[in-house]
């Protein structure tokens, strides 16, 4: 029978790194507390068939934060055969508190002492046997990063799981009194003092401390942060790097399209099929793939921010600013991640303890321009603001941030409830991003992007092409008959006339953007082939369209994530209305005010 093995431990103790090691899968890791917010499972076949469950990190099983409850409920109700308690050896004392709590529950426990290599590199020593004796638990030293000791751990877990286990030893969880908490912590302090010897060199400033002194410096902290963001976006968008690679890519796609069209025509393929392949699939998907280099560069840097430990510091330095709008610095973590992809960014908000703060953060995170919006920004700004294209894109990013902050400010004033004034966040040590995990992370992004281009975007391109080339009677259009897409979108165009883009192609593109934001570009490429796009918008209506795209409700995946995190239909629907309503108003303002000057 398959045994269930749970991985439990403090946030940022390396559970997911170990999970990936054991199962050979690639869940996302990072160096900030709260990367994993849902339990994930993976199977191992040897030495025993086991189902491994990676639980979100928890500081205590007495906590009530959403993701900590997930972990506690699993241990208490699902009764895993073995609980592997992963402990950060460099943070032993606090980690032991959870171990002592778990021990009290009576579940079958084994301790994986992680980051032993890092501890030893500090010159510290840890008496593993003594620790095991004091805890009365098996302890296996490992390094989840390098894989050292992981095989031994797996062997021990399998041995333990194979033994018969009397479930009556499990004790129901009771609310912990402050006295009991203190007693467990005192015990943790004693055990820590008995087993760990710090080297004398620790009095000196560690490298992590010196980096920290610079990055959170009273005067330099903010300039350094802004410089860092500038460098990231400069490298991503710069014509010399990201832009150059992108252009090269899109020229190759155009060449491919022409070549395929030629080939298909020469072998006598039906015009509709040639059109489907060239104008539908290649134009749609190819237009998106051109942005792959830029997306790789952006995610490369976002991953470094995550893995280095800097992300938690950005929350630390900005907390004071976020207090002005009724949030905490914790909200900044999802916002920065929102530059990559809105879905994981929204999920990162779960670490925010206060429910109201969390919901507001989920609502404003989509205003951060995700990488899927990059293609449409680039396409339209280059076409209509050629000389100032960079400025327009920069402006859109900044405008999104401002709208996010302003939304939080207004909603905090208007909505009932008290803003949370607590901000308790662990600041992990700085760590050099691990090359292998960095590369895996990037590789995942590439394959995810290509897969999306090959599935969702491809499918959307075909659908848009089909709806645009067939009539309701399902005949292929050769003349001027109205297509299905025309008839459907025409009904809604009147809504967008005041915004300057009340035309059916724009409306169709916006709807396809709901499925995936990249589809905006592929749809426009299909609906307005060749030079048509260049005359479709005026610079002003392009600006209004871009502002609408920036703010309107994110893709379906992000809406689903929003609904999961809000856990309230009112909040979810409210968020969609707020986002789309703001998009409409802002687009209207841009076009109407702009019309006075143009």
């Amino acid at each position: 029978m398959t045994k269930t093995i749970a991985l439990a431990g403090n946030p940022n103790s390396g559970k997911t790194t170990l999970f990936n090691r054991l199962t050979g899968t690639r869940q996302v890791t990072g160096n900030w507390p709260g990367v994993t917010v849902e339990k994930k499972t993976g199977d191992i076949s040897s030495p025993l068939p086991m189902c491994l469950v990676d639980l979100p990190g928890l500081y205590s099983i007495a906590s009530f934060a959403a993701e900590e409850v997930v972990a506690r409920d699993f241990i208490m109700n699902d009764r895993p055969d073995v609980v592997v308690n992963i402990i950060d050896a460099t943070n032993l004392e606090r980690n032991l508190y959870l171990t002592l709590q778990l021990r009290k529950l009576g579940c079958r426990l084994i301790v994986a002492l992680n980051m032993m290599d890092e501890l030893l590199s500090h010159g510290d020593t840890l008496d593993v046997d003594r620790l095991s004796a004091l805890l009365e638990l098996p302890v296996v030293p490992i390094s989840a990063r390098s894989g050292e000791g992981v095989d031994t751990l797996l062997q021990r877990v399998a041995e333990l799981a194979a033994e018969p286990f009397d479930e009556s030893s499990l004790i129901a969880w009771q609310k912990e009194t402050p006295e009991e908490t203190q007693r467990l912590y005192d015990l943790a302090t004693d055990i820590h003092a008995a087993v760990l010897v710090h080297s004398h060199s620790r009095g000196a400033l560690s490298l992590s401390d010196r980096i920290d002194r610079l990055l959170t410096h009273r005067v330099l902290a903010f300039p350094l942060f802004l410089l860092l963001m500038f460098v990231i976006f400069y490298l991503t968008f710069s014509e010399k790097i990201g832009g150059f690679l992108g252009e090269w890519f899109s020229e190759r796609v155009a060449d491919l399209g022409a070549l395929v069209a030629q080939g298909l025509t020469s072998i006598g393929t039906a015009p509709w099929l040639t059109s489907l392949i060239v104008d539908g699939a290649i134009a749609g998907v190819g237009g998106i793939l051109a942005f792959l280099p830029q997306i790789i560069i952006l995610f490369f840097f976002l991953t470094i921010l995550e893995d280095s430990g800097y992300l938690a510091r950005t929350a630390f330095i900005t907390d004071r600013l976020f207090r002005e709008i009724g949030l905490t610095g914790h909200s900044f973590i999802p916002m920065i991640l929102g530059f990559g992809c809105t879905v994981p960014a929204i999920m990162a908000a779960r670490g925010i303890e206060n429910e109201r703060d969390r919901r507001l953060t989920v609502l404003i995170t989509p205003f951060m321009s995700c990488s899927a919006r990059m293609p449409i920004y680039a396409l339209l700004s280059q076409l209509f603001f050629s000389r100032h294209a960079g400025l327009i894109v920069f402006g859109l990013y900044v405008f999104g941030i401002l709208v996010a902050l302003l939304s939080a400010f207004i909603l905090n004033k208007v909505l009932p409830g008290q803003a949370d004034h607590d901000f308790v966040l662990e600041l992990p040590p700085y760590r050099v991003p691990y090359t292998k995990s960095l590369l895996l992370h990037i590789w995942d992004k590439i394959s995810d992007f290509v897969r999306r281009a090959g599935t969702i975007i491809f499918l959307m391109s075909i659908i848009i092409w089909f709806l645009n080339n067939f009539t309701f009677s399902l005949t292929y259009i050769r003349g001027d008959e109205p297509s299905i897409l025309y008839t459907l979108s025409q009904a809604l165009t009147f809504l967008f006339v005041p915004l300057g883009f009340g035309r059916w192609q724009a409306v169709s593109a916006l709807f396809s953007g709901l499925i995936a934001k990249e589809s905006l570009v592929s749809s426009l490429n299909i609906l307005l082939p060749g030079e048509q796009l260049a005359t479709f918008f005026s610079p002003l209506s392009a600006a209004s369209f871009l502002v609408f795209v920036l703010l309107y409700t994110p893709c379906v995946a992000a809406i689903a994530a929003t609904a999961r995190e809000m856990r309230s239909r009112t909040w979810t629907v409210g968020a969609i209305f707020w986002q789309t309503g703001l998009a409409y108003i802002m687009g209207l303002l841009v076009y109407q005010i702009g019309s006075l000057f143009v």
Binding site: A65, F222, D319, F423, V424, L425, L427
Partner: protein, 108 residues
């Protein structure tokens, strides 16, 4: 063995609010406000009476602050810290030597 909960050198220690302490100062938590005891997160992270803490720094805008306890760093707002009472220990009178720069506790 229970070094963090033993307070020696009477007479030179004084009890202050955590938010009043300056970077580099250290002490032992003697009491926390009832409302914080109910704050599961702070207590779960080991901010309990008897804990040795060192103030590391304040954020560039003056708030929040960063403390070191139990060999890790924690950031909390001054409003929260004001509800934590600390028995401040003079550097040279402490039975533990610590580095003023980084708040590392070195054991003799």
């Amino acid at each position: 063995m229970k070094e963090t909960s033993v307070i020696e050198t009477p007479g030179v220690d004084d009890i202050v609010r955590l938010d009043e302490m300056r970077p580099g100062e250290a002490g032992v938590i003697v009491d926390i406000d009832m409302s914080l005891k109910r704050n599961s997160r702070l207590v779960a992270m080991g901010v309990v009476p008897g804990t040795w803490i060192v103030v590391r720094k304040f954020a560039p805008l003056g708030d929040p602050m960063e403390i070191r306890l139990r060999n890790y760093q924690l950031s909390l707002r001054k409003s929260t810290a004001s509800r934590v009472l600390v028995k401040r220990t003079r550097n040279n009178d402490s039975n533990q030597s610590y580095n003023k720069e980084n708040g590392m506790i070195g054991r003799p």
